[in-house]
């Protein structure tokens, strides 16, 4: 063991174990969050579920549509879209990714780890940015890849009913699915940091993403036309259909609106993280 002789500000010199400069940096905080992510079995498991869901659901749906084609009703055939069918798993992936985003933060509060984390990084905000960086990186890579795998695999299984990436709007939908899921994960992290409680964070996240659009349906249609397209999930999902719906925002405009919501959530989480006691 190497040891350094060091003069403390306040006492006599004593031998200290070599522990480096010990300075906290944003990069080191990111590395710490990466260690935390990969050493927690539950986070790895949920991520696997997200990937399997994203790929598996679309493959199964594609296989059965092709096998049952002769028995499909006219209405089903009219609604059929090879891209949407192969990417059907995004719903399940969104549940897993969003939940894990919340848990990444609330798990620290429920176990008390947050006190150790924030004592190690008293500036606090680097922890939020680090969690965001690590989780965004992981979800972006995995969901983008899964989206392409689901699409390409689905097209193989759809046989003669399949489409290709060159067809109009198709590449956009496949890419947008990966982007949308990444943003859902980021929103989950923000909600986790805002609410600091697992059940509450998950309820709030899916309340906003899934329940809010459903509530809209009971409003007068004139209101719906104005408000509905600006709801976070509606805005983000505008880019997820090949044929453009005039009631929705333009695809990437909608995604940008969704991203703005995520940024607002993050800023709110950052302000409260600085202000509240741990």
């Amino acid at each position: 063991m190497t040891a350094v002789q060091e003069m403390s500000d306040s006492g006599p010199a004593y031998t200290r174990a070599s522990t480096g400069s010990g300075e906290v940096t944003q990069w080191r905080t990111i590395r710490a969050e990466w260690v935390k992510f990969r050493t927690l079995w539950s986070s790895v498991l949920v991520m696997v579920i997200a990937v399997l869901g994203m790929i598996g659901v679309g493959l199964v749906a594609s296989y059965f549509i092709n096998a049952d084609w002769g028995h499909l009703r006219a209405r089903q055939i009219a609604r059929f879209n090879p891209v949407v069918t192969s990417l059907d798993g995004y719903n399940m992936a969104q549940l897993a990714i969003g939940t894990l985003g919340v848990l990444l933060v609330t798990g620290e509060y429920s176990t008390g780890l947050i006190r150790a984390t924030m004592a190690a990084v008293p500036a606090r905000l680097p922890v939020l940015w680090a969690k965001l960086t690590v989780y965004t990186g992981i979800t972006f890579v995995l969901m983008m890849v899964s989206s392409f795998v689901a699409f390409l695999g689905g097209q193989v299984l759809l046989g003669s009913h399949s489409t290709t990436l060159d067809a109009p709007g198709v590449l956009r939908v496949v890419v947008a699915t990966g982007v949308y899921l990444t943003l859902v994960g980021m929103l989950g992290v923000a909600f986790g940091a805002l609410i600091r409680n697992t059940a509450g964070g998950i309820a709030a996240l899916f309340g906003v993403l899934l329940v809010l659009p459903a509530i809209m349906e009971v409003l007068p249609s004139t209101w719906q036309d104005v408000i509905a397209k600006y709801l976070p999930s509606n805005a983000g999902q505008a880019a997820l259909s090949v044929t453009l719906d005039p009631a929705m925002l333009a695809p990437w405009v909608g995604m940008a609106v969704f991203a703005v919501y995520v940024v607002i959530g993050m800023v709110a989480a950052a302000v409260l993280l600085k202000r509240r006691d741990v």
């Binding site: 403390s8 006492g11 070599s18 522990t19 300075e23 906290v24 260690v35 176990t111 004592a119």
Partner: protein
């Protein structure tokens, strides 16, 4: 060196810590005593910047904790509630903490060895006993080999061997010149470990004293005397600030005089004394005496009164 100046913390309408001013000096173990709910944990959380004081300041080595660039090198903290995700292994927990401040992996294995967890380092913390969890908390506190240690009830859940181990550890860390601040409500433990004690009750500072002084200053110190002329000696010693009890014809228990004073007085009057034994109050008794009026959650009658009056103020 920890310096608190007028440190105050209010949660809503409740004042948990009220205008605390104290210094914790390097080179000795300083005990932090107080009954349940006195505000010990709250004070310690403020020292490491987890809770923001409502008023006042607290600094570590001259700076607020959050302003230190290498906080884990400065202060190692063990906070009351476990601060560990139970789904991770002990080693991975420490590796994550170490990564934050660039502490090498070697140091992680070193502290695991030091606290006696090397063999279970790869096991998930979920399966740990209370004492093992506590040892992991201590390992986290020691990770950065800090100048200052802030430990909230470190002996909680430790077996006698563990308690002895931590007592020796704290004293040797202090002897090296580090600042060691340890809370407890076990006065007997503090009597053995600490040289200085800061005593609080209901968030207020009650005493900041040398341990040996608390005991010698206690009104519960008694001198046991055995003499054939008990009645004569009793008359001789009687004065307002002195109480004398007697458990047998030839025995007296004197409070308020030292054994020197009693022995000298007896000699001057030719009273034979066969036994003269000063019996010091335990720190426990001395502590009870100091905090009697400020117990928040007590079972004794005066304590119940104070709970009621505290409730009435809301």
């Amino acid at each position: 060196m920890i310096e608190a100046q007028g440190l105050t913390k209010r949660y809503g309408g409740k004042t948990a810590v009220s205008d605390l001013t104290f210094d914790v000096r390097p080179g000795i173990v300083t005990g932090f005593l107080g009954p349940n709910g006195a505000g010990k944990s709250t004070t310690m959380r403020m020292i490491v910047g987890l809770d923001t004081p409502s008023a006042g300041t607290v600094t570590v080595n001259g700076k607020p904790y959050a302003e230190h660039r290498a906080p884990l090198r400065e202060v190692g903290a063990l906070l009351e509630a476990r601060s560990i995700h139970t789904g991770r292994s002990a080693r991975n927990h420490l590796l994550a903490l170490a990564a934050t401040t660039g502490i090498p992996v070697r140091r992680v294995d070193e502290v695991l060895e030091l606290v006696g967890l090397a063999e279970v380092a790869g096991k998930r913390v979920r399966g740990f006993s209370l004492g093992m969890g506590q040892r992991l908390g201590i390992a986290s506190a020691l990770l950065g080999d800090p100048h200052t240690l802030v430990l909230d009830e470190p002996v909680n859940g430790l077996d006698p061997e563990g308690i002895l181990w931590i007592r020796t550890l704290l004293r040797s860390l202090a002897a090296e010149g580090r600042t060691v601040f340890v809370s407890s409500h076990l006065m007997s433990e503090m009597a053995l470990t600490a040289e200085q004690v800061i005593i609080i009750g209901k968030g207020r500072l009650l005493a900041d004293v040398d341990v040996s002084e608390v005991i010698t200053g206690s009104s519960r110190n008694v001198v046991k005397v055995r003499t054939p002329k008990a009645a004569e000696l009793r008359e001789l010693l009687a004065r307002p600030a002195v109480t004398i009890a007697s458990s047998a014809a030839d025995r007296l228990e004197v409070t308020g005089l030292s054994s020197d004073e009693i022995g000298t007085a007896a000699l001057e009057h030719g009273i034979p004394v066969f036994e003269l034994t000063p019996v010091l109050a335990s720190l426990e008794e001395a502590f009870m005496e100091l905090t009697r009026d400020s117990v928040e959650f007590g079972i004794t009658a005066p304590a119940m009164e104070s709970v009621e009056s505290a409730g009435g103020q809301r």
